[in-house]
């Protein structure tokens, strides 16, 4: 230990003085007035080719985050080509400009940088995180990856094999099976949301270099993209760097975004059991098609879900974990996308308590349709509103917020008005959105577990018709995953 003795002595004297009187613990100290929210300013610029640049200065740590976001994602994969956007974006780093895949990785690693490319349903992105002293060295590599990918055939073959093997391995893991089984159940095989962003073994095997080049050309055009910079930078000095890396990028062309068809309508509640013999826990997802990110009910839904299963002290977690000990944790959430994504209540529950757990899930899902007590509503609103500022701490936090604003075209004052929008939510709003979106009579109840053990108990609950599925029904036969 190295504290100076003087410091320790002073502490002893000070401590002795206060130790004499114990604090009043009869009630918890109340919080003072909430600190004012100071959102980081977003400085909006543009490169000479029209590419928008959003910059947030954050000078605490000498690092920078630079994201190139394209407003097309896996949700735009054409029918029969599910997975093409995901594979295209992953291939960007596997050869670009004059660099091979190994050279790109070596250059990035040597700078102490992280560079990644990927796609969600709603967007594609290339993201760079780097010590700011090395930003000028890293940007040209990033620009190669975004502007000049080469899609080498041997790298495609390698990446394809890696993905097929990962898909084979996903069959082992109930926690990996359940989201796919749930999506398949809600959306079917025709709707894009019914299949993982990476696609199926069948589609993975079908993609050619020409497919990826075509998909790349449709997505990565300046008119379809924006740049974000967050970190220890000054706009007047970073914009010229961006200009020299991205300013001459003038690819044009267009691909109309695909409007997803309406998901299949479910008229009654049904149960789907994916058999996983020997599993000591059952993975559970219960729900239905939810809402798009553009929903007018966004804020009431946040509060309703916080009460239901969106925080530790939420009803689902308190019931299934704290009261009954059936699980390590129970949650619920709305996955909001460009089109309506799934709503799910979820947990991994011990196998011999599966039916008891399902019963408690439905107790809470039905319970949220009833009026919510005032103190519970106030707690949920405070929880969401008061921790809002903590979501602007790191370069990663802020860049995620900016991406969200760009991808979903949120209004300029969206973050400034966030807290007041939360505060405006009433008990009536919560009840209205619960009744609108928690339609327990139309839910899909999807479980991955040891069927012979759990099926009798589930049957006795009379939740609805029971459908028995195998892992092959979700992934296709195992052999299809290998070469």
């Amino acid at each position: 230990m190295r504290p100076s003795h003087l410091v320790v002595l002073a502490a002893l004297l000070a401590g002795a003085a206060v130790g004499a009187q114990a604090p009043d613990r009869s009630k918890p100290p109340s919080a003072g007035p909430a600190p004012a929210l100071h959102l980081p300013a977003v400085q909006k610029r543009q490169l000479s080719n029209g590419l928008p640049v959003w910059i947030v200065e954050l000078h605490e740590v000498p690092v920078a985050q630079v994201n190139l976001v394209a407003f097309s994602g896996s949700g735009d994969d054409p029918s029969g080509r599910f997975g093409v956007t995901s594979l295209t974006t992953s291939m960007l780093e596997e050869g670009a400009g004059g660099r091979s895949a190994l050279q790109i990785a070596d250059a990035v690693d040597f700078l102490g940088a992280d560079l990644g490319a990927g796609a969600t349903f709603d967007a594609s992105a290339v993201r760079l995180h780097v010590p700011v002293a090395r930003l000028a060295d890293a940007l040209p590599i990033m620009a190669d990856v975004v502007l000049r990918p080469t899609f080498p055939q041997d790298e495609l073959d390698r990446l394809r094999q890696q993905r097929l093997t990962a898909l084979l391995q996903a069959r082992d893991d109930p926690a990996a099976i359940i989201p796919l089984a749930f999506a398949r159940t809600l959306y079917g095989t025709a709707h894009r949301y019914g299949t993982a962003t990476t696609g199926t073994a069948e589609t993975m095997k079908s993609f050619t270099v020409a497919d990826l080049r075509a998909r790349y050309a449709a997505i990565f055009r300046p008119a379809n993209c924006a740049l974000l910079v967050v970190g220890d930078v000054m706009p007047d000095r970073v914009v010229p760097l961006l200009e020299s890396s991205f300013g001459r990028w003038t690819t044009s062309g267009a691909a109309a975004p695909i409007t997803l068809a309406a998901p299949p309508e479910r008229s009654r509640r049904e149960v789907y059991i994916v058999d996983k013999p020997g599993a000591p826990q059952t993975q559970v997802r219960i729900g239905m098609v939810g809402v798009p990110r553009s929903t007018a009910d966004y804020f009431p839904i946040q509060i309703m879900n916080t009460i239901l299963g969106g925080s530790f002290a939420s009803r689902l977690n308190m019931n299934l974990r704290e009261k009954n000990g059936y699980t390590y944790g129970a949650t619920s959430g709305f996955d909001m996308r460009a089109s309506a994504g799934p709503f799910a209540a979820a947990a991994g529950v011990q196998t011999d308590k599966t039916s008891e757990s399902l019963k408690e899930f439905f107790n809470e899902l039905n319970g949220i349709l009833q009026p919510v007590p005032a103190d519970e509503l106030a707690r949920a609103k405070n929880y969401v509103a008061l921790r809002f500022p903590s979501g602007f701490e790191s370069t990663g936090d802020i860049s995620r917020r900016l991406e969200e604003a760009l991808i979903y075209r949120l209004p300029d004052d969206y973050f400034a008005k966030y807290v007041q929008n939360i505060e405006a939510v009433t008990a009536a709003d919560v009840r209205r959105v619960a009744q609108k979106y928690i339609q327990t009579g139309k839910f899909a109840v999807v479980v991955v577990g040891d069927r012979k053990v759990i099926e009798p108990g589930i049957k006795a609950l009379n939740l609805g018709p029971i459908n028995n599925l195998t892992v092959d029904d979700i992934f296709g036969p195992a052999a299809a995953a290998s070469r």
Binding site: G15, P28, G32, V132
Partner: protein, 464 residues
């Protein structure tokens, strides 16, 4: 406390890599960056009851984090009660003398706070992140469970969390592919009786056996303020925060001193082989060696050995097994450092159609090569630059797991100096390529290691 205060740089950067604009001269690729100094300014004091307190100011967001480390983990457990330190951690959220059951979380959520805790072999940590106006509530809650946990503890509380922890074990180990291998690994590395032999999560029968009396004894022995350290970091005023800490923690009773752990000698004398079956499609190989404990000579060099072998696409094992030969799906290497001992682990999953034997042969070739010939300056520089960047990246958050508050507590606990960032980074910067070779030679012998193989159960062995 005010947001209106000028933003004080929470970190002071000195040296060539200090926050310069990107257009200033960046180090040319091929040269290591000039050393920079990382400083996390802090003040510290010790209360009469023995609680050591560290304060750190950072006003970047109006949030403050209260972070406590108790210097006890699963290594202090006794036979028949494995998993107890972690079960006890769960009980710390169940209320205390002046906090009713369930209130710990509801009070924090009401002010926009979040919290969590975790248990390892040598320590248990807890953090509460709150908006800075609710600092006093966080200190009240943290001090109440330090001083008065047993006032509301009942056998029913223990039962409730026992079930939760058993489900944590099912979720994180039993129902997860290859999850039981981690447990088998430390059983093979450390002999029966060594404090790292059993898993932190514990064995099911021991979780069943844990009793209310065990809780009382464990709390009295290990949860005294003298066996803990408290960091308060974030949007705070140090003088006012010190007064609040004295107010709330001053009445927590001191306990008996805890004897420092003895560090048992441990060595492998031969190759230990074991095969497990699991509900998986592909086999997996784990190779492990006993290595120097955290911060001992050789520990930092082994971090770099891990990087040279399996950090990134150009690392030796990744490039050969996954990239060139494509006989493995994944490979990783890490020096897993502990206070009593460490182990170095290589983990590899062969592709369908390839065997554990094939990949083991390549691993052995590459380790022998690194034992005979130092890595290139470029390989070392690549690893050092990534390590240096990781120190910056670790500065971006104040609270939560791995935030600055947690790191100050970690360094204080292990070295006595909360701001040991530069010394830690200096361990790596001092290394030469020949040090890396020497560490590989000294600590990765082929004839004293663990070889654990997981093979698919016959029923799920459908690989073509």
């Amino acid at each position: 406390m005010k947001i209106a205060l000028p933003i004080i740089a929470a970190l002071v950067w000195t040296g060539a890599a200090a926050a310069q604009s990107p257009s200033s001269s960046a180090p040319a690729a091929g040269q290591p960056a000039a050393p920079s100094r990382i400083e996390v300014p802090y003040t510290q004091f010790t209360l009469p009851n023995g609680l050591h307190v560290i304060l750190h100011e950072d006003h970047s967001v109006p949030v403050v984090s209260v972070n406590v480390w108790y210097h006890v983990g699963s290594a202090r457990e006794r036979q028949g009660r494995t998993g107890f330190a972690h079960l006890f951690e769960h009980l710390m959220f169940m209320g205390s003398g002046h906090v009713k059951p369930g209130e710990f979380d509801t009070l924090l959520e009401t002010v926009g706070g979040t919290n969590n805790g975790s248990t390892e072999t040598d320590r248990t940590n807890y953090w509460i992140n709150v908006p800075s106006n609710a600092l006093e509530l966080a200190l009240f809650l943290e001090s109440d469970r330090m001083g008065y946990l047993l006032d509301t503890m009942t056998p029913q509380t223990v039962d409730a969390q026992r079930d939760v922890v058993k489900n944590e074990r099912r979720q994180s180990y039993e129902n997860r592919p290859y999850g039981m291998a981690e447990i088998a690994l430390t059983e093979m590395l450390f002999p029966e009786g060594h404090p790292y032999h059993w898993p932190v999560i514990g064995y099911m029968p021991d979780l069943t056996a844990a009793s209310y009396d065990d809780v009382v004894a464990f709390f009295k022995k290990y949860y005294a303020p003298g066996n803990a350290s408290l960091v308060v970091a974030g949007d705070l005023d140090p003088a006012a925060t010190r007064r609040l800490v004295e107010k709330w923690f001053g009445d927590v009773k001191a306990g008996a001193a805890v004897e420092p752990p003895t560090i048992p000698g441990v060595a492998l004398t031969s190759v230990q082989k074991r095969t497990l079956t699991d509900r998986v499609q592909l086999p997996r190989l784990y190779l492990a060696w006993l290595t120097p404990r955290h911060f001992a000579p050789g520990d930092a060099a082994l971090d770099i050995v891990a990087d040279v072998l399996a950090g990134g696409k150009n690392s030796r094992l990744y490039k050969r097994l996954v990239y060139d030969m494509q006989i493995a799906q994944s490979v990783s290497a890490q020096q897993s450092s502990g206070g009593l001992a460490s182990y170095f682990l290589v983990e590899v999953t062969p592709r369908p159609g390839h065997t554990v034997g094939e990949v083991m042969k390549v691993i052995d070739e590459e380790i022998v090569k690194l034992q005979r010939e130092a890595p290139t300056a470029h390989e070392l520089g690549r690893s050092l630059n990534q390590i240096e960047a990781s120190f910056y990246n670790r500065m971006e958050r104040v609270g939560g797991f791995g935030g600055k508050a947690d790191q100050l507590n970690a360094y204080y606990t292990e070295t006595g100096d909360p701001d040991w960032f530069n010394e830690d980074l200096g361990r790596y910067r001092a290394l030469s390529p020949s040090d890396i070779r020497a560490a590989a030679e000294a600590f990765l012998p082929p004839d004293r290691r663990v070889e654990l193989t997981v093979v698919p159960e016959a029923a799920s062995n459908k690989q073509p």
